[in-house]
């Protein structure tokens, strides 16, 4: 026979109480959304303006300090925003707490690895391309 928890409706509604966080996640989401607007515009503008550039011209552009800073900022902010959004999706649609936690932690580790790899690649191109 299944072990059914007998609990009052109020006890069920209160559950374990408040986690006392969530505001910063929401705020970070809103801030990264706003910061992404100029950064994404810069990425699109860069891709369009470099569409007929040669390899050495692209490397030269990548080595420019403004491009390095903007590219690193874009990677950090876009990945952070993506991770925050994915966490919300997992929390919305995965009801199993254990599976949800595994997916959220795994996703965060994946994005940290992706961000570090991308930033190292940008720095490597910028400083070791020899142009």
């Amino acid at each position: 026979m299944p072990n059914k928890l007998i609990q009052s409706p109020l006890g069920k509604a209160r559950g374990l109480g408040s986690a006392h966080h969530g505001a910063m996640h929401n705020l970070a989401h809103d801030i990264t959304t706003l910061v992404n607007i100029p950064l994404v515009a810069w990425v699109i503008y860069s891709i369009v303006s470099l569409r007929s550039a040669s390899y050495s011209e692209v490397i030269a552009w990548m080595s420019h300090p403004v491009s390095i800073v903007a590219a690193i900022l874009f990677v950090m902010v876009a990945l952070k925003h993506f991770a925050l959004e994915l966490q919300v999706v997992f929390e919305d649609y995965i009801s199993c707490k254990c599976l949800r936690m595994i997916k959220v932690v795994g996703m965060k580790l994946f994005f940290i690895a992706l961000g570090v790899t991308t930033i190292i690649s940008i720095l490597k191109i910028a400083f070791t391309s020899g142009i």
Binding site: P9, L10, S18, A19, H20, A23, N26, E91, D92, Y93
Partner: protein, 264 residues
């Protein structure tokens, strides 16, 4: 994972047809959700042809007419019949609303009536609101003060009272707890056990914005939670569904702003 399809026993089948408008020129068909958990059968959509000249102008009038004259087994809640009690909240023509405020002539074609979505069904059009009421109770919807009780009433300026009542009478204090908003919210469908839902959060805001209440910090402590509050993704179905034209989405956003203000 979230279940996107109805369980086998919840699939709605075709039901009985009652023609109570033989020979009538002004008639309308009402397709009504019927379910009795005691029978162990799937829900059905029964059809009732009604002579509109024999009943009042609202959908509630038609349902009462059906119960009184056609099928006395039809079960639904109703009380005030003027949009104050919130009892007759149901889904009419694909939209959560109050049957007493929904004119029949606003519905083109057949009138399809189902109970409020997502809630367990007690019978026919009666949803089980036990959990929603418990969630409402959990926000402690009463004035909390530590100041000694004054000899007369607790004073409130007209400006502060207007924050509760709204410029147009559509402030958070006008909520009638019909739960049309909560049951139209996808976030509430997916996480009803933890997410408070727009109706309860609108009422939480009603107490947070009350100048006489002295427990704002305590109330915000209880609400600051990824599931209780932050499941709201500003989908705005709640504001769209509210039969009293209130704005639960704005109230939720005000609570979020208040929490940020506390952190900053």
């Amino acid at each position: 994972m979230v279940q996107f399809t109805l369980p086998k026993k919840s699939k709605v089948k075709k039901g009985q047809k009652f023609d109570a408008a033989k020979g009538a020129e002004n008639k309308k068909t009402f397709k009504v959700y019927r379910y009795d958990p005691d029978q162990g059968e799937n829900p059905t959509m029964d059809e009732y042809d009604i002579n509109l000249d024999e009943c009042g102008p609202m959908v509630l009038d038609a349902i009462i007419h059906i119960k009184d004259n056609v099928d006395s087994t039809l079960t639904f809640r109703r009380s005030c019949r003027e949009g104050i009690c919130g009892s007759c909240a149901m889904n009419i023509d694909g939209r959560n609303t109050l049957a007493c405020l929904k004119p029949i002539n606003e519905v083109k074609g057949d009138v399809k009536i189902t109970p409020l979505p997502h809630m367990p069904v007690v019978k026919d059009l009666v949803p089980d609101l036990t959990h929603a009421y418990a969630q409402y109770e959990s926000i402690e919807p009463w004035m909390k003060t530590d100041t000694a009780t004054p000899s007369r009433e607790r004073l409130q300026s007209p400006e502060d009272a207007q924050k509760l009542n709204g410029d147009d009478g559509k402030g958070p204090a006008a909520c009638i707890l019909c739960f049309c908003c909560s049951t139209s919210c996808p976030s509430y469908w997916w996480n009803p056990d933890k997410f408070m839902g727009p109706a309860v959060l609108l009422n939480a805001w009603r107490w947070l914005t009350d100048s006489r209440d002295e427990a704002k910090g305590e109330r915000l402590d209880q609400l600051e939670d990824p599931f209780k509050l932050y499941r709201c993704h500003t989908i705005m179905n709640c504001t769209n569904a509210c039969p009293k034209d209130l704005n639960p989405a704005k109230s939720i956003s005000e609570i979020k702003k208040m929490i940020v203000e506390r952190h900053s």
